[in-house]
């Protein structure tokens, strides 16, 4: 029987069995708990050979399923006889001292502890009962216990009663207003906002406040930050080069979606598969940036497919953590050690996510349409005006034009497009288009070969021409496929070889229309922060990368074209002896460099002309010129003349610049399903190693979970929808648990990222399930869930820790008091800025650069960022908008445990360190806040008394108590005695206030 059936068989039994004796409080019982005590032993010592992995099973015995464990193994003995340890072969073996017989086998050197043996013995004696794992069966909605009006309180207080603990009284109103502001919008209330709440004596004053906070645009900013920890959002690519990337539109999408209370199922489906929705909107596409937050290694010389593989393993891991609460990544190398996740499950799930290309999307918008129109008009205007700029006027122009036509006609040849009759590559997908151009897509490597076979009824062919042109489907518009490390959208043709009847054909000469172009923007010159002199020194001398270099037999040189819009170049390769193409022609194009550099959009033509050369004229114009039928009034020809001749260099520059820089929508990174003509296959990787791909695996969800609907396509969209299917036991639980943690500092399941066998059992299983079902019932509305939580008495309790708490429930697992924990880095910084009156309310846009010590970005990391400290409003934006540099993250954020964006994070560490004290005390930005705060209170009040109270209210919402006032006054007096006065004096007090434990702590 497959494990899936086993786990789903008796959903009803499970909660009974699992009546969570598991809470980590001393509720000892003699009965052995399978989930907590037995399964870990079996998992650690037995499942490797007697678990669900068919490949590694020994002795035809599996112990993970009760009916199998009660049967006979290969030896014929019965492994487990319930109630009879003495008859159970398993026990005999684990107690045996015989090296041939003992289990685990002597050779494994894995010794089963005596306590584990005793546990197994008791368990068998008690009937060898198995339990289903609570998280793998659907949530069961119990009616909340009676006696409390709020369901959360009903569950929590029932439990408290059992443990003889009583809930704490409600926090005072100032604490409450501060808490709910910090939780819902990530900012403390201003004194005025707090007073407004105090002044509202309506019975529903609190609910009104909650609703207004849920409606605040700052709500989305607060909750986006938590989501971005999971999404491993950053503004750079990571690894050595760690160059900037543009994906902030995704960050802004998250903020907007949360503010709009986009139901969590849609919120998720759009991020996982927005591109696959019917008629996806620009915003659906932007949402798919979720999985583009993986890192991109641009270090010279990496194997791009290896790092794409790592990006995929990252995506599987993130998906498992974020939606499933499963440590899927443990099954990358082998079947999961504890959870029922097979090695193949891992790669099948990868296959569900693995069929996407990773383009940069130019966001389309109504505004773009008008910008494009304006651009077209501008170009038409520039073109129309061009003749009027000709030096010397119309007559001179006509004469020179006619002369030019003569010269160019002499150079031009008749070219005929060759349609390949065969295209072969090592990996990239190259497809012929109707216009004879070939379009490349799919994965590329550091050494790609295109083999093209042609045939034409034509003798005396003297040369071939390769036209390369931009195309909107390519990185940076092409014409190349280079997407990392090298010049984006460029290509590098290392060698071109021709064969006829398997005989090598020799090229005698080559030319390209960009042979004279400065090609020094390459490789070493791209080294970040290279000094100009260094760039020059490192750069290869001019014209190394020209068409001749593609036929010189030297792999490290070649023909290169840089990427961009409206790029069009040609290269002409002349045969030593004219060919008869009726015998066929095979071209091998090799693209090889330390980065992947293949060609994306090109066309091959032939000529019989005598002196074929690369002119760079479009095919149409070249034909005109070659045919000698060109008329002086041909406007296209005239334009080409005006745009290229030396004397028009300055006059034509605006036109050429405009052509090169068409208006583009704001770029952002997205996922886009690959075309049906080129699906990507996914394989299982032996030991999880990139260099050991094995059998292809079909896309599927883990076998132990409910399966995708039979009729569903095996796509990302089907998978994303499956996460939210009613049968899925994990998603809703994992989601509500994470929300709970945000408010209480601890999840009902403390391991937010792991709901598997090794997870911490829920403290309030029925509440968890009730909330999970409630979330679904309320249409996955996050705002409703948050409202539900913050309106509970459990949430509103005071957080004072009493002696009784310390004794009975030091970690507040039972929630007899409010939660007190240090605030997140971003909230700490934003709180200080808000207290100082500096915080900007501006939303969205590119990352900003608030002040931080210079050495953070100038020293120590290879891929430097130019941290141009923002001025004006951007200096004081919410921390959500601080530019996230992965290898050198914003120092203050790191000090307060913010993630670097290098990996998905479900729960931040909450540390308490001297470096945090140094930051709050001495960091220039906090000093700046103290100065502004000092000015503010000086402006707001006159007497010491009033100023101190104003200071206190700005920082911690409540007024200072008399004994606090005594301390503050004493400080003032002492500083005055030390000759501090005026603003300086008040800055000193403000600095102290910004350092209070209370200002950085969830009250």
């Amino acid at each position: 029987m497959p494990p899936a059936r086993f786990f789903l068989l008796s959903a009803f039994v499970v909660t009974l069995l699992n009546s969570v004796s598991a809470l980590a409080l001393p509720t000892h019982s003699v009965a052995v708990d399978f989930n907590r005590e037995v399964r870990p032993i079996l998992a650690q010592y037995c499942f490797k050979c007697h678990g669900m992995d068919d490949h590694s099973r020994k002795g035809e015995l599996r112990l993970d399923l009760r009916d199998k464990a009660l049967g006979n193994g290969k030896s014929g003995e019965t492994a487990i006889v319930p109630g009879h340890p003495e008859l159970s072969e398993v026990l005999k073996r684990i107690l045996s001292q015989d090296k041939e017989e003992m289990m685990p086998p002597h050779s494994t050197k894995s010794l089963l502890p005596e306590t584990a043996k005793a546990t197994l013995k008791s368990w068998i004696a008690q009937g060898a009962n198995y339990q289903l794992h609570w998280a793998y069966v659907p949530a069961i909605r119990r009616t909340p216990p009676s006696g409390e009006s709020h369901p959360i309180d009903a569950f929590v207080r029932e439990r408290l009663k059992k443990e003889a603990l009583s809930p704490s009284p409600e926090a005072d109103k100032l604490t409450l207003v501060r808490r709910v502001y910090l939780d819902l919008i990530g900012l403390p209330p201003t004194p005025k906002e707090a007073d407004n709440f105090l002044a509202n004596t309506a019975p529903d004053a609190y609910e009104t406040l909650v609703d207004s906070l849920l409606a605040s645009k700052h709500y989305g900013e607060r909750w986006a930050r938590r989501w971005l920890d999971l999404a491993r959002y950053a503004d750079t690519n990571g690894y050595e080069k760690d160059r900037p990337r543009t994906i902030w539109p995704y960050r802004d999408w998250v903020v907007e979606a949360l503010n709009a209370d986009l139901p969590f199922d849609q919120f998720s489906i759009k991020q996982l598969a927005g591109d696959l929705l019917p008629n996806p909107s620009p915003s659906d596409l932007i949402a798919t940036g979720f999985h583009r937050n993986s890192m991109l290694n641009e270090e010279g010389g990496i194997d791009p497919l290896e790092y794409r593989f790592y990006a995929m393993t990252d995506r599987v891991r993130v998906t498992g953590t974020t939606w499933m609460g499963l440590t899927l990544h443990c099954a990358q190398c082998h079947t999961h050690k504890y959870d029922p996740i097979l090695h193949t499950d891992y790669y099948s799930l990868m296959a569900l996510l693995n069929n996407a290309t990773e383009p940069t999307y130019a966001i389309s918008s109504p505004e773009m349409v008008s910008r494009e129109k304006a651009h077209a008009e501008k170009i038409a205007k520039l073109e129309a005006e061009l003749p009027s700029h000709y030096p010397g006027g119309n007559e001179a122009m006509a004469a020179r034009f006619s002369e030019w036509i003569g010269v160019e006609s002499a150079k031009a040849s008749h070219w005929s497009v060759l349609q390949p009759e065969g295209i072969q590559t090592n990996l990239p997908h190259v497809e012929a288009q109707t216009d004879g151009f070939l379009l490349g897509s799919g994965d590329i490597t550091k050494s790609d070969t295109y083999t093209l076979r042609f045939r034409a009824a034509q003798k005396n062919v003297t040369a071939i021409r390769i036209e390369v042109a931009s195309h909107p489907s390519l990185p940076n518009d092409g014409p190349g496929l280079t997407y990392y490390e090298g010049p984006l959208g460029g290509f590098f043709l290392s060698e071109l070889q021709a064969f006829q009847n398997e005989q090598r054909i020799v090229f005698s000469r080559a030319s390209a229309s960009n042979d004279e172009e400065d090609d020094r923007i390459n490789d070493a010159a791209l080294k970040p922060n290279a000094k100009p002199s260094e760039k020059k020194a490192q750069a290869p001398s001019k014209k190394k990368n020209n068409a001749s270099a593609a036929i010189d037999g030297e792999m490290s040189s070649g023909w290169q074209v840089l990427g961009g819009s409206s790029v069009y170049h040609t290269a002409v390769f002349q045969f030593e002896h004219p060919l008869d193409l009726s015998s066929g022609l095979e071209l091998k194009m090799l693209f090889e460099k330390h980065f992947a550099c293949s060609l994306g959009h090109f066309r091959v033509s032939f000529t019989t002309g005598e002196i074929p050369t690369a002119t760079g004229h479009s095919a149409e114009l070249e034909e005109l010129l070659a045919s000698g039928t060109s008329q002086p009034n041909n406007s296209k020809l005239l334009l080409r003349f005006l745009a290229t001749v030396q004397e028009m260099k300055d006059a034509a520059a605006p036109l050429l610049a405009a052509l090169k820089n068409p208006p583009r929508g704001q770029p952002t990174l997205i996922f886009q399903e690959r075309p049906a003509s080129n699906p990507r296959t996914t394989r299982l990787y032996h030991r999880g190693e990139y260099l050991q791909p094995r059998d292809e695996v079909p896309p599927a969800v883990p076998a132990f979970l409910p399966q995708l609907p039979k009729d569903a396509s095996s796509s990302r969209l089907a998978f994303a929808s499956w996460l939210f299917s009613p049968e899925n036991p994990l998603t809703a639980r994992v989601t509500v648990n994470r929300q709970w943690q945000a408010f209480f500092g601890r999840g009902l399941v403390s391991s937010l990222e792991d709901f598997g066998y090794q997870s911490d059992p829920p403290t309030h299983p029925e509440l968890l399930d009730w909330l999970a079902t409630e979330l679904v019932r309320e249409g996955w509305s996050m705002k409703k869930l948050h409202r539900l939580i913050v309106t509970s008495a459990t949430y509103k309790q005071g957080s004072k820790i009493t002696a009784e708490h310390l004794q009975k429930d030091p970690n507040n697992l039972l929630l007899a008091r409010g939660a007190r924990f240090r605030l997140d880095a971003e909230v700490i910084r934003d709180s200080a800025l808000r207290a100082a009156g500096l915080l900007s309310a501006k939303m969205g846009g590119p990352g900003v650069y608030p002040p931080q010590p210079v050495s953070v970005t100038t020293e120590g990391t290879y891929g430097k960022v130019d941290w141009k400290t923002s001025t004006g409003e951007d200096r004081y934006r919410r921390s959500l908008y601080t530019f996230v540099k992965r290898t050198a993250p914003f120092a203050m954020a790191t000090t307060f445990d913010a993630p670097t964006g290098e990996a998905c994070l479900a729960k931040r560490d909450v540390s308490n360190s001297p470096l945090q004290a140094l930051t709050l005390l001495n960091d220039a930005m906090f000093l700046e806040a103290a100065e502004a705060l000092a000015k503010r209170i000086i402006g707001e009040a006159q007497s010491d008394e009033e100023r101190l109270q104003a200071l206190f209210r700005h920082c911690v919402t409540r007024p200072a108590s008399p004994d606090e006032m005594t301390l503050l006054r004493a400080f003032l007096e002492k500083q005055r005695a030390q000759k501090l006065e005026g603003e300086v004096l008040w800055i000193a007090v403000a600095r102290a206030a910004l350092n209070l434990d209370e200002i950085i702590t969830h009250p």
Binding site: N297, Y310, E554, R820, E859, G860, N912, L918, L996
Partner: protein, 476 residues
Amino acid sequence: MITPNITRRHFFQDCGIGVGKVALASLLAQQTARAAGASEKIASSGTLFAPHHEPKAKAVIHLFMAGAPSQLELFDYKPMLAKYEGKPLPASVIGGQRYAFIRSDAAVLGPRFAFGKHGQCGAELSEMLPHLATVVDEIAIVKSCRTTQFNHAPAQIFMNTGFSQPGRPSMGSWITYGLGSEARDLPAFVVMSTGSGISGGAACWSSGFLPSLYSGTRFRNTGDPILNVSTPQGVDPRTQRDTIGLINAMNQRRLQLEGDSEIATRIANYEMAYRLQSSAPELMDLSQESPATLELYGCDPATPSFARACLLARRMVERGVRFINIYNEGWDAHSDVAGNVKKNTALTDRATAALIRDLKQRGMLENTLVVWGGEFGRTPMVEASVSLGRSQGRDHHPQAFTMWMAGGGIRGGTTYGATDEMGFNVVEDEVHVADLQATILHCLGIDHEQLTFRSAGLDFKLTGVEPCKVIKALLA
């Protein structure tokens, strides 16, 4: 096994009722704990109540030669390369190895420098290492190192964390997690960069899934050595003292009301921060060093350099710092390997030897482990490229490279392992990165199999899941 996500709160409770193992270590933990009145026994240790075995080393100085120095120009003399210079290696030798820049049929390049035998041990060293030659009897050279990574960032992260992708704890984090700190007023795990920048970035000294207080603390070359360790300009030192006094008095009052031991920890941390404000400048003040010492290292006290970092490292060890990373970036010799080695040995050889000599003369070498090496080796084949303007360079080579160790627990004058006559593959006593890590932990009294941390349901260790071994032959 250790419970994850240990908080300070946990610590206070546990020591209150005298329960079991507590992970509290690293950054200034000792002082914090003392301030809060914790028992000395727990406070001075990390996760481990006692080392797994008798430690030889108390501290580690890892001289990380980032970019990967050429073993063929420094330690692993291969005259055969000269003989076959200009000819490619047989494909059977190359196997399926992928390279960063070169093609696998590139010709071999002979050693660029002369070698000679040195010390009583007679170890073979390049003429580019004249200073190291004078202390060669103190070091154990391992010529048979091997890694799995052939690009800088992943290889550096791998050398530090045992995994090629960011996210795992670094060696310094594991060690301070295990052993805690002996530094009175300084961080337990310090990182210094003396070159153009570290490819692996902050992932190289990250605490990964360990609590974040085990992260390495960067000592910087410009501005404050520890970020924000200076009182802001314009703030009177007395005011600074009074400010901290006020903060702590206010927090003390809050502690009485709330009963939250986190506040007690915060109070202790402000005291510690204040002490750091004087201990950091004291550490950096090299005027206390004799001219002879400065001369020995070749150190200009005013200028950040590898030499100054080495001298600072000695001073840190004296003050109880547990793990020090000094990065010297710049060994990535894709072109002109001879010039690269010349330049970098000029920057490092004298100070490296001085560090060994200085530790020795102060009686500190026997309990300070010094580790020298890069993230991989360099190819016996030449790197040259027309389009990149490169010639006479060497590409990345993960199959074989050289590292050395000295001091605490290491048998000096040892040469261990060997490569084939072309220096391509290890042919004797292969030492994988995990073996190096296991050996380093061993010198500190830690069994690498037993220093574990549970994250996402799995027990992780620095050395990973593949079998590895302590290299006994290197031990004193």
